[in-house]
């Protein structure tokens, strides 16, 4: 159902170049030299733990917080000095901020009214956008007659109705329950693909970030620690923080000598040859570990073998979480998928176990955070 309401705004979508943004609140460095380039029509998510500066970065882009230093260029306009109402940036607020004294339709029409669009055109455009967020015919409702998910959609409709150059979203789905959140993640992504609007969203939910984004910017204590595609962020984290924050992980200390990495006495085969001599950490993802128990791994590539004993087993539905104490004394986690429970009995506590890690999954990250 391609109506004119779903026409692409790609022509208006603009890249955003954020350079060396610093924001101090007194002694607190909310943002510490953040540089980030968001391509035209790209969907980027800012991900990070609480207090990492995500909201602050979004607010500086929207114009509600003036950075201490740095520059933000949208298209070819420097916007750092522009007041928020002149930036032409749409935003979905965390609590949606739908005006309670206006109906749904009036809320969505408000940005058009501010731009002195003719009445007929406004009405038509409002209908189109409501249709786009699948709430056609809700224009006459009061805001408090909407459910949480509907409010979220209306907030989105209001933010895109005036075809802004960029769309910002501050934890747009955090107020929704899990199922609705997952549905809206896909819906927002679809809408983005249809409208082609440059989008920057904030979340502290890693799954949400991985689901929706082209690229994810991970923030930690006001600094950008890694900016990459979801896949690379998960498979090739460049530091311990990202490896820990995204997905499940265990770490083993690794010493490096003459380009050879060792865990204890075991020489490790790695995906990439180690560089430098500083001690590093071997990243273990629970689901990447193979259960060997004496058998040959049945793979062409090299497999690192790790021996240990099971110290804890927890049934978690889709898998059994095993805690394994390695011979070196380190505890790591692994998962036995539910589908394997038929063929392989859950190991008893205290039972010896041999785990394998394929060389292409063996990744080192710097030891410091």
């Amino acid at each position: 159902m391609e109506t004119s309401g779903s026409r692409s705004t790609a022509g208006r979508a603009l890249p955003v170049v954020i350079r060396n943004i610093v924001k101090h609140y007194g002694a607190v460095r909310a943002l510490d030299d953040v540089s980030l380039t968001v391509g035209q029509g790209e969907f980027v998510t800012l991900l990070g733990p609480s207090g990492s500066g995500k909201t602050t970065l979004l607010m500086t882009i929207a114009g509600f917080a003036r950075p201490t230093a740095g520059s933000i260029v949208v298209g070819d306009t420097e916007v750092v000095r522009l007041p928020p109402h002149k930036r032409d940036i749409g935003m979905v607020f965390q609590n949606y901020a739908l005006f309670p004294h206006m109906t749904v339709g009036e809320n969505v029409a408000y940005p058009l009214r501010l731009r002195n669009k003719p009445k007929a055109e406004t009405a038509e455009r409002v209908e189109q956008v409501l249709d786009l967020v699948q709430l056609a015919g809700y224009g006459g409702r009061r805001v408090d007659q909407l459910s949480g998910g509907q409010r979220q959609r209306i907030a989105l409709a209001r933010a895109i109705v005036f075809e802004p150059r960029i769309l910002l979203m501050d934890e747009p789905l955090s107020a929704l329950d899990k199922q609705l959140r997952e549905r809206m993640q896909i819906e927002i992504r679809r809408l983005h693909d249809r409208l082609g609007m440059t989008t920057i969203a904030v979340t502290h939910d890693q799954r949400e970030a991985l689901t929706m984004s082209d690229r994810v910017a991970v923030l930690h204590q006001g600094r950008l620690t890694q900016f990459d595609t979801p896949r690379r962020l998960y498979e090739r984290p460049t530091n311990r923080f990202v490896a820990e924050f995204i997905g499940e992980s265990s770490f083993l200390p690794v010493s490096i000598e003459n380009g050879i990495a060792r865990y204890g006495d075991t020489v490790l085969s790695l995906a990439e040859a180690p560089s430098g001599t500083a001690a590093q950490l071997l990243l273990l993802r629970p689901e990447k570990l193979l259960f060997l128990n004496g058998q040959a791994p049945g793979r062409a590539t090299a497999v690192n073998r790790l021996q240990g004993t099971v110290t804890e087993t927890v049934f978690q539905g889709e898998s059994v979480l095993l805690t394994v104490r390695l011979q070196g004394g380190h505890e790591i986690h692994t998962r036995l998928p539910n589908r394997q429970l038929d063929s392989a009995a859950v190991p008893e506590i205290g039972a010896p176990i041999e785990l394998g890690l394929a060389a292409e999954d063996a990744l080192l990250v710097p030891g410091d955070r």
Binding site: A62, P83, F93, A97, P111, L114, R142, A159
Partner: protein, 301 residues
């Protein structure tokens, strides 16, 4: 606990439910019983005098029932004039209070708590001194050779002392001063509850600060404004001391007329009738504003 609302047809559970309901009802009754003494006292103190007022307003000097006190109010021009003046003053004072009080309340609501608390004390400070003292203080300030006139003459702004007191001007200055907290406090409370993200959202959608104020902030603060406005207006209608002192007898409002009637006539009847009319007018205004506010609230949700 097998409390089920899905299977009320099961006799056992239905019985159980009614027992619970009875328990809840008993608890409500007991709680209500707790507040009956206070309720009774309030009823006694509120309705007895008002009942008396109504009763006396229909009794003539000889103790016979009569309408003469009311008919006098409608027929004698002086009374009608007094009602008109009372409303004029009340409207004017309320309007000035709104013009002065709205920015004050807005400032208060935007300041960090430390400062707003301090300023709030400044607004409440007048309540710590008696109304009479404050009113006489204005007399001292505004009289012919008072501080205000002296200063104006010294500065060469005026040649003759301005007639600032013993007239309408003085009455209104004094009343605005007394009334302004009654407007500011409810307004401040309602402004305090307006979420700042509404204004951010408006700015984000392209509203200049001015438009965001008129189209978002003002409508959202309206319930508080109307509440303060009605309170101020109603207090103005029945105001006595300040107009009496600062009006210098030249400004007559209803309350003064009531007092005069008490002295003038041998019975309570005429004064009571005036009181009843004032009470009814006030009630009418309250009901109307309540209705209006209710409609607005329903829009706000």
């Amino acid at each position: 606990m097998a409390i089920s609302t899905t299977a009320p047809h099961l006799t056992g559970e239905a019985h159980y439910l009614t027992e619970l309901e009875q328990d809840a009802r008993r608890e409500r009754r007991q709680l209500f019983a707790l507040c009956t003494p206070g309720l009774l006292l309030t009823m006694l103190l509120l309705f007895l005098p008002i009942g008396w007022l109504f009763w006396f307003s229909f009794i003539d000097a000889d103790g016979n029932p009569t309408f003469e006190h009311y008919s006098r109010i409608w027929t004698e021009g002086a009374y009608v004039q007094i009602f008109i003046i009372t409303f004029q003053i009340s409207i004017l004072v309320t309007a000035i209070c709104v013009l002065l009080g709205y920015p004050v309340a807005y400032c208060l609501s935007q300041l960090p708590p430390k400062w707003s608390g301090l300023l709030l004390i400044g607004i409440l400070l007048p309540f710590w001194t008696s109304l009479l003292v404050r009113t006489y203080a204005w007399l001292v300030l505004l009289q012919r050779r008072g501080i205000v006139n002296d200063t104006l003459i010294d500065l060469g702004i005026v040649q003759q002392p301005l007639p600032l007191v013993h007239n309408m001007t003085g009455t209104i200055i004094g009343m605005v001063h007394i009334m302004i907290p009654f407007l500011v406090l409810p307004l401040y409370a309602s402004m305090k509850s307006i979420d700042g993200t509404y204004l951010r959202a408006a700015a984000n959608l392209g509203a200049s600060p001015t438009r965001a104020f008129w189209e978002i902030y003002l409508p959202l603060s309206l319930p508080g404004l109307v509440a303060g406005l009605v309170l101020t207006f109603i207090l103005c209608l029945g105001f006595y001391i300040t107009p009496a002192v600062l009006g210098g007898g030249r400004v007559q409002m209803i309350a003064q007329r009531i007092e005069a009637s008490v002295h003038l006539y041998p019975t309570w009847g005429p004064a009571s009738a005036l009181g009843v009319v004032l009470l009814l007018l006030t009630t009418l205004i309250l009901l109307a504003s309540h209705w209006l506010l209710g409609r607005w609230r329903r829009r706000l949700g």
